[in-house]
Symmetry: C3
Subunit: 138 residues, 3 copies
C-alpha cells in the first residue's frame, strides 16, 4: 500500500479545499499518512472562518456555488468538512503544515490559522519529510 502522500496546496478555492478534505480523510480511513503543505494562497484555507469560493464558476456565482456544493455534500453524508479534518488530524494520519516563508511573505500569523496545524516549516523540511512517499501538487 502507499505509505505516505505529501500534498502541496497553493490555491484557496473550494475545489482544492474539497480535494484536500476528501483525499485527507480517505487516506485516514486507509491508514495512509497524508501530509499537506500549504503555501501562497493555499494558506488561506487554514485561516479561521475563511470561506473558500468555487474557482471554476464565473464571478457572481463563486460564493453561491460553494454553498450549493456544501449542501449537496451533506446530503451524501459528508458532514462539516472541518470536523472530518480535525478527526483525521487527531488520528495522526492527516497533518497540516503551513509554509513559514510564504506566511512571512503574505503577513499571515500562526494565530490566524486553525489551532490544529503543525508548526510552520520550510521547503527543505517538506522535501525531507516527503522522503519515501509521493509528492502531489494539488
Amino acid at each position: 500500500m502507499v505509505e505516505s502522500v505529501n500534498f502541496i496546496v497553493k490555491d484557496k478555492s473550494f475545489e482544492k479545499f474539497m480535494m484536500m478534505t476528501i483525499l485527507g480523510t480517505t487516506g485516514d480511513a486507509m491508514d495512509v499518512k497524508m501530509n499537506f503543505f500549504f503555501t501562497f494562497w493555499g494558506l488561506y484555507l487554514l485561516k479561521k472562518k475563511f470561506k473558500p469560493k468555487v474557482a471554476g464558476m464565473p464571478f457572481p456565482m463563486k460564493g453561491m456555488a460553494a454553498k450549493m456544493f456544501r449542501k449537496k455534500l451533506k446530503q451524501f453524508g459528508w458532514e462539516e468538512p472541518w470536523d472530518m479534518i480535525r478527526e483525521a488530524v487527531k488520528n495522526g494520519n492527516m497533518k497540516l503544515f503551513p509554509c513559514q516563508m510564504t506566511m512571512d511573505l503574505m503577513g499571515i500569523k500562526k494565530e490566524d490559522l486553525v489551532d490544529f496545524t503543525e508548526e510552520p516549516v520550510g521547503a527543505a523540511s517538506f522535501l525531507e519529510m516527503s522522503e519515501g512517499g509521493r509528492i502531489v501538487s494539488l
Copy 2:
C-alpha cells in the same frame, strides 16, 4: 522504466486536455500504464462533444485559441486527439476513470460521458490503484 503514472485531472481547459492527450498517448507508445482520474471540472473533458477552451488566454480569445492550436497540432501530425486517446485506451495502457462523488455532486451521469471510460470510482479506489506508481495532479 516508470511502471504507472496516475493523474488527477481537475480542470476543463484545452491545456489540460492536451497534457492528458500527449502524456497518455506517449505513455501508451512507451507501454507505461497511464491512469487518469477525472474530478470536479475535469469531468467535463470526458463529456460527449465538450469543446475545451484555452484557460491561459483573455476572455474573448479562449475559444479561438483552442481552434488555432488544434489546427497547428494537425500540421505537426497530431490528428484528432480523441482518436488517439481511444486507440491508447483500446491498447489497455490509458485508462479514464470518472470520480463517482464529484459526478454526483455536479449532476453528471455516466451516459453523458464518452463511451470508453472505465466505471466511475471513488478516492479510495484511486489511492489503491496508484500503489507502486506515481500520482500527478495536472
Copy 3:
C-alpha cells in the same frame, strides 16, 4: 533521501515562478536533482526579460503585487531569483527543460529563452528522465 524530483511547469504566474525558484534552489542546497519541464504558458517563465504577475490577485494589482512580493523576498535575504537559479543550474542540480512540442505550438524559439536552459525535449524524454524519481505538476 529523495534522489530526484521532476516538475512540470505549465503556468506563467509569479507564484509558480517562486515555487520553482524555492524548490529548485532548496533542492540544490540538499544535493537533490531537480528537473523542471516547461510546457504551454510555463515556457514564458524562461523567456528573457519576462516579468511574471501574481495570478491570485484581481486584475489591476497583478503586476504591483509581484513587485511587492519581490521587495519583501529581498528583505528575507532572497536576492534576485534568476541569480539563484543560474547558480543552481551551474551546480548541476537544477535543470530547465523547455518542451519542444509546445514551443513549436506557441511559436517560441530557443533564442527567446534564457541561455542556461537544456536542449528542448519531448514528453517521452521527460517520462524517461523521471524514471526512479518523483513527478510533480506545479
